[in-house]
């Protein structure tokens, strides 16, 4: 007797799979992660209590902002099958460029609104430029974009650290590896509730709420968006249909890199008000944003919701680090399983496993 396992494509996806797949993945990842946390000596309920607490905290929104911006951009790139893994470096590029301009070029009497616009544009351009570099390498020379964007992440990280330890180290910072505090006309205002100051900065929050809708429009209602979707779903059809694949690669890299760059501007001008060590500026947001894109099913509005949820998870991770011996890196267990469950459940919603017993 032999058991045969085969699979068959379902005539249509399981009903409500757009909701069931992400929700199911979240539940699976939370349960598996809790088991692993218990095995490392954490009380089983602590994780869920911390998570519930984080749902209504401003720190979750603070983390959601860079995650939404980067995640929406990555969703656009992945929709075109362009594997930009470089949001981490693109966040740093935005932060680095905005910091340099804020420190050395913005006159202290410049109007804060003008300064903010200038710095957002600079940050967008820096992130987009870094993305475009990998895009050109891919479009012109077929250099694998996964590896090139990854390498650029590490390169940017080292450049930022070189600057904050070396030439840009602040004279008023007692030798700490960080630049001087930026002049206060470039500070992005933070949300103040009653007399409590939060780390949520208003302009970047507003941008992160508007961008998903703009990108949804771009992706589903414009010619560019149509081309992006065709290149992603059927590259051969795109070629015969006269779509310039190279242009689509460049465009998606500019958008995803630029949005990550804006996230970087928000971090340094809205939260730290100085450039600090690379590991703390980008803090893995660029990698976590990959999950935001997938959890949102590569839909920009989906990424907005997913970004908030992952923001909650990140915030819970930091709390967990404080109240237990677990290091923040452990949150990667949750995000890794989440992403894995997402693509596995996605498979089950599209294919039907058939078990046959053969005698």
């Amino acid at each position: 007797m032999k058991i045969e396992l085969s699979i068959k494509r379902r005539p249509r996806e399981l009903p409500y799979s757009n909701i069931i797949v992400p929700m199911g993945s979240i539940i699976i990842s939370l349960i598996v992660s809790d088991i692993l946390l218990v095995l490392s000596g954490v009380d089983p309920m602590v994780f869920f209590i911390v998570l519930a607490d984080s749902f209504l905290s401003f720190s979750s929104i603070r983390y959601a902002i860079p995650l939404i911006l980067s995640g929406v951009g990555l969703a656009i790139a992945y929709k075109a099958n362009v594997w930009n893994i470089g949001a981490e470096g693109q966040i740093l590029a935005g932060a680095l460029a905005a910091s340099g301009v804020a420190l050395f070029y913005i006159p202290p009497d410049m109007n804060p609104v003008t300064a903010a616009v200038v710095l957002y544009v600079i940050g967008f351009s820096a992130g987009a430029g870094l993305g475009l570099l990998a895009g050109i390498l891919k479009a012109r020379f077929n250099v694998n974009e996964v590896l090139s964007t990854l390498m650029l992440n590490y390169i940017l990280m080292q450049i930022v650290n070189y600057l904050v330890y070396g030439p840009w180290r602040g004279v008023r910072e007692y030798g700490y590896p960080r630049t001087d505090i930026f002049p206060d006309n470039v500070w992005l205002p933070q949300l103040i509730i009653g007399d409590m100051r939060t780390t949520v900065n208003i302009p970047t929050l507003a941008i992160s709420l508007i961008i998903p809708f703009l990108m949804y429009f771009l992706l589903f209602k414009t010619k560019w968006g149509y081309e992006i979707r065709v290149v992603g779903s059927n590259p051969n059809a795109a070629e015969y249909g006269g779509i310039n694949t190279g242009k689509v690669i460049a465009l998606t890299m500019i958008i995803s890199g630029g949005l990550a760059g804006i996230a970087g501007v928000g971090e340094v001008l809205g939260i730290y008000r100085q450039l600090i060590r690379a590991e703390r500026v980008s803090a893995g947001f660029g990698y976590t944003a990959i999950i935001v894109a997938w959890l949102g099913k590569l839909n920009p509005i989906g990424a907005l919701i997913a970004g908030y949820f992952i923001g909650v998870l990140v915030s819970a991770g930091y709390t967990l680090q404080i109240i237990s011996r677990i290091s923040y890196g452990a949150i990667n267990v949750v995000t890794g399983i989440l992403l894995l469950s997402l693509i596995s459940l996605d498979f089950i919603s599209k294919y039907k496993p058939i078990v046959k017993v053969v005698r």
Binding site: L36, V146, L147, R325, I326, N332, G336, L339, S344
Partner: protein
């Protein structure tokens, strides 16, 4: 100078082990970006194992087993479930980072009771490693086993028609490559840096993935580039000291910049035509679609 060569070999060894394993995985048509996490997980688990048992070789084995486990998950998700290989691999890298951090956290910086010491026998080490590379080349290109692996990576439909179990070969190649990745991470700790801190080994897996490309998916070329990258790493350490005193952060960017430049050189010049990836690399295999 001789010291630098010895250091290049020692630093390049984990890269060689990881890249030979990944060559087998990719030759079967599976791209495993989980290799980066596997390397880091292999480092952490072998460190903890060696700390508790005092046996470095058991550490190597445990590192390899954890790697194989992650590779098995990658096989299930990306081969059986046809999940996108890039996404599954990245997910497993994140998961492995987290697991490594959970496993090693309470043991950070503890001194190892024993190492794998190869400082004196680096010349023998080169010979052994070249022999290993030749052996893996022979298996891949001269034996039937290697022919099956290459056939499922180049043309899985034809391979299936000739009676090769594509799914099985792909999953086993992925498990094997990941086992090697785990051993590589273990070797990185036990045979090279000899202490574990959180994040030890991060970035090496990506470099091994780049080595696979510039080695044209051929085990014979893997030692050349592994030792080259090992040499860059060893030179970095040297150039931080007097009389050079170069900035450690700028030097730290160098291996990644070199990877990018070498990738570019191989892809943008006529050499490119000798560097053909396995034809179905990254493509899921749809068996039942033929019969419908």
């Amino acid at each position: 100078m001789l010291e630098l060569v010895a250091r290049a070999i020692i630093a390049g060894t984990p890269l060689l082990i990881a890249s030979i394993g990944e060559i087998y995985t990719e030759r079967s048509g599976v791209l495993n970006l989980g290799l980066e996490g596997i390397f880091v997980l292999g480092a952490a688990t072998s460190f903890v194992t060696t700390l508790y048992t005092g046996n470095a070789y058991l550490g190597l084995l445990v590192g390899g087993i954890f790697g194989a486990f992650i590779g098995f998950l990658h096989g299930i998700v990306s081969v059986s479930f046809r999940g996108r290989q890039v996404v599954s691999g990245l997910a497993l890298t994140m998961f492995s980072y987290g697991l490594a951090s959970l496993i090693g956290k309470s043991e950070v910086g503890k001194p190892l009771p024993t190492y794998i010491y190869v400082g004196d026998i680096w010349m023998e080490l080169i010979a052994i490693e070249i022999l290993i590379a030749v052996a893996f080349w022979y298996i891949l290109f001269k034996l039937k086993l290697g022919a099956s692996i290459r056939s499922v990576g180049d043309n899985p439909n034809a391979a299936e028609a000739l009676g090769v179990d594509v799914v099985k070969v792909r999953i086993l190649s992925t498990v094997f490559g990941s086992f090697m990745g785990g051993v590589a991470g273990a070797w990185y700790i036990l045979g090279y840096i000899q202490v574990w801190t959180e994040g030890a080994g991060m970035g090496r897996g990506w470099i091994a993935l780049a080595i696979v490309i510039v080695s044209a998916w051929n085990p014979l070329l893997a030692p050349v580039f592994s030792f080259l990258f090992g040499g860059i790493e060893a030179a970095l350490w040297r150039f931080q000291l007097p009389p050079y005193n170069l900035d450690p952060y700028l030097l730290g960017a160098l291996p990644y910049l070199a990877t990018l430049v070498i990738l570019f050189m191989f892809m943008a010049t006529p050499i490119k035509k000798y560097f053909r990836p396995p034809a179905s690399l990254g493509e899921p295999f749809y068996k039942e679609e033929r019969t419908i």
